[in-house]
């Protein structure tokens, strides 16, 4: 039963973070939430008995992609105030 609860919560959290990554107003926050999504995916892979993917997801999905996107968002949207409306928020 606890396992079901855990799985249910995890899936719920996955969907919520995915939704937040897509629809949150602030792009920076969206990327941070996306990193959280990646970490949750890593946990999900552990639950699916796939430790290899969990490792890869943590390193690549959450880690590298996250850093790449964070770096990008800071350059695409964040630096100059004039672009905030175009870059940060759609």
């Amino acid at each position: 039963m606890t396992e079901w609860l855990l799985d249910g919560l995890l899936v719920f959290a996955l969907l919520v973070t995915a939704g937040a990554a897509l629809f949150s107003h602030n792009l920076f926050r969206a990327v941070v939430v996306f990193i959280a999504f990646g970490l949750l995916m890593a946990v999900a892979w552990v639950r699916l008995q796939a430790p290899d993917i969990a490792l890869a997801e943590a390193a690549i999905g959450a880690g590298l992609t996250g850093v790449l996107l964070l770096d990008a968002v800071s350059h695409l949207g964040g630096i100059r105030p004039g672009d905030r409306n175009r870059g940060g928020r759609e």
């Binding site: 996955l14 993917i53 990008a72 695409l76």
Partner: protein, 107 residues
């Protein structure tokens, strides 16, 4: 109903959400996030569905590993293109530039 199936079904929902994002969100970075979320959804279906019947299946797991590497390659390439595009056009969407924006890059 097993936990694997639950994850597979979650994958289906993630795919739909990602698809919406990819189609409707204008900002390129959002599109990229949406692509990655879609990808995660596909990977969940890929592993979750076969494992529903009998324990861990290494073959889809290996496929998903390959898929993740392809996805990161695509993402990284997209980021490079995007930043270069932004540098040259000052735009973060794929809309055709309006005439006053057309000449040259800014920054």
């Amino acid at each position: 109903m097993t936990a694997s199936l639950l994850y597979a079904l979650a994958g289906a929902v993630l795919f739909g959400m990602g698809l919406y994002g990819l189609l409707r969100l204008p900002h390129l970075l959002r599109k990229l996030l949406a692509f990655n979320i879609m990808g995660s959804g596909v990977f969940l279906v890929m592993v979750g569905l076969p494992q529903h019947r009998g324990g861990a299946d290494p073959i889809p797991q290996a496929l998903v590993l390959t898929g993740i590497v392809v996805a990161i390659a695509a993402t990284a390439l997209a980021v490079v293109l995007m930043r270069r595009y932004y540098h040259l056009s000052g735009m973060t969407t794929l809309e055709e530039p309006s005439p006053e924006q057309r000449p040259g890059g800014r920054r």
